[in-house]
Amino acid sequence: MMRYILLLMVFIVLISGCTGVQDEKTTLRVFAAGSALGPLATIEAEYEEIYPMVDVQIHGHGSIQVIRQVTDLRRQADLVVVADESLIPDMMFQPMGEGLGNFTEEYYPFATGAIVIAYTERSAYADEITDENWHTILRRPDVRIGFSNPMLDACGYRALMVVKLAENYYHDEKIFDEMLGNHIHPPPRIITTSSGTTIHLPEMIQPDGDKVRIRDGSIFLLSLLETGGIDYAFEYRSVAEEHGLHWIDLPPEIDLSSEMYDEEYGVVTVHLGFQRFSSIGMDRTGQPIVYAAAIPSTAPNKEEAVRFLGFMVDAFSTGREAWPEPIQ
């Protein structure tokens, strides 16, 4: 009888997962910018198919929040992926504490992006807009424009930079005010000095009238485009492509896509309305859009992170449709 009891006990203990034998799967935690989530979902699936004992978990945030998960909130991450490479040295090349090393020591740029004007076939003047007249079409009173909140989304402050850069490119100093500035309450203050132009945003950036719509993130602009709530939206090209939208490519001199125009982009700065994060200042200066990744010093699975990073960089280097462009 005792033999059966013992056998039963062993069986119960075994099925209860109390043998001390752990599930061998490694969990790889990746914090990533929203505009990289589409490609990363594909990469995750491909990686897990090759390495079935790895569970890649991707958590999406805005780029600054991605880094704050590691720096301010001290959450464990194996990899961070951001849509603005400058954030990594600014926020992670910092000591983790007194006498401790930095949050990371290096980062890997792997793709580039560009700002485009996204629209649908139902958008007002869809049959008329071109890459030459977009800045006049978007100023028409009956055209509704969307951009994401510069306080929350890099695409938002980049949209403002693009429109300001367009004034220099097209030699028309009314573009910014007529397209955006006059339709924001209170209107941004524009201060131009010999070193460049700064767009000072108010603390509360809100539309004045129906021409401009501001949303927390680009996903909400896509929804507005689909339902006809806006005619045009400032988006990353890869996002517009991923969601099957039409788009107008802008000149590389203003679309923040090219290292060649780094200096030209740098003449425009957006000064945010308040300091949302104590760990980063209020100024965002124009520069090429470069996606980058870093492995935090505190990554629990560094070796796996290195392998995944290599896999990810390889995947991006192939230049797939609707993904950010491979870095040259």
Binding site: I5, I12, Q206, D216, G217, F274, F277, S279
Partner: protein, 186 residues
């Protein structure tokens, strides 16, 4: 035989009991000492959690979406109407702004219209924009009947609530770990 059966049952139940490995954590999170500072630059009030719980409680439904479209909720939350807190330092004027901040260095700014529950975007559960129903901004300390955990932004989190569980609001305004509310007079 009957004796053996009883012994067997006792041993099997014992095995089932210990098979949980006896490593269950106490699921009750230890309460973190926390205070809330209310200030308008001239006068300042410091409220303990006990003080806050002693204020008139309000409840509501809470459902948020992040900037990248991830939904959190729905939850049932309890806390204090932010207007009641503002009244403790003389209330907020029409043009005043509210700086709500947390010790992790996060700050978000509201106007007084928003403090009254207006001026927010709202979505249905398919994330389509809908006309805003009545909303209330609260400083929450309970979620689904339990104290708000640190991971969920507790002990105190600013949450936008509605009367029904199918209204989603933008999570960017839901400041976690609130420890300071400052009225900037204008």
């Amino acid at each position: 035989m009957r004796y053996s059966l009883i012994i067997t049952i006792i041993i099997v139940l014992g095995a089932i009991f210990v098979s949980g490995c006896l490593d269950h954590q106490d699921e009750q999170e230890e309460e973190i000492p926390w205070n809330l500072t209310l200030t308008d630059g001239e006068s300042t009030i410091l409220l303990s959690m006990e003080d806050i719980r002693a204020l008139k409680p309000v409840t509501g439904h809470a459902y948020a979406v992040s900037t990248v479209g991830i939904r959190y909720g729905p939850y049932r939350v309890k806390g204090v109407d932010i207007l009641d807190l503002l009244d403790l330092i003389g209330g907020a004027g029409e043009n005043d702004l509210l700086y709500i901040s947390a010790p992790d260095g996060y700050l978000w700014v509201f106007d007084t219209e928003q403090a009254s529950g207006s001026g927010f975007l709202t979505f249905n559960t398919d994330l389509k924009e809908i006309p805003s129903p009545p909303l209330r901004v609260i400083i929450a300390y309970e979620q689904d009947g339990k104290p708000l955990t640190y991971n969920d932004g507790g002990p105190l989190r600013l949450i936008i609530t509605s009367d029904t569980s199918d209204v989603i609001t933008e999570g960017s305004s839901w400041v976690k770990w609130v420890d300071r509310i400052e009225i900037r007079r204008r």
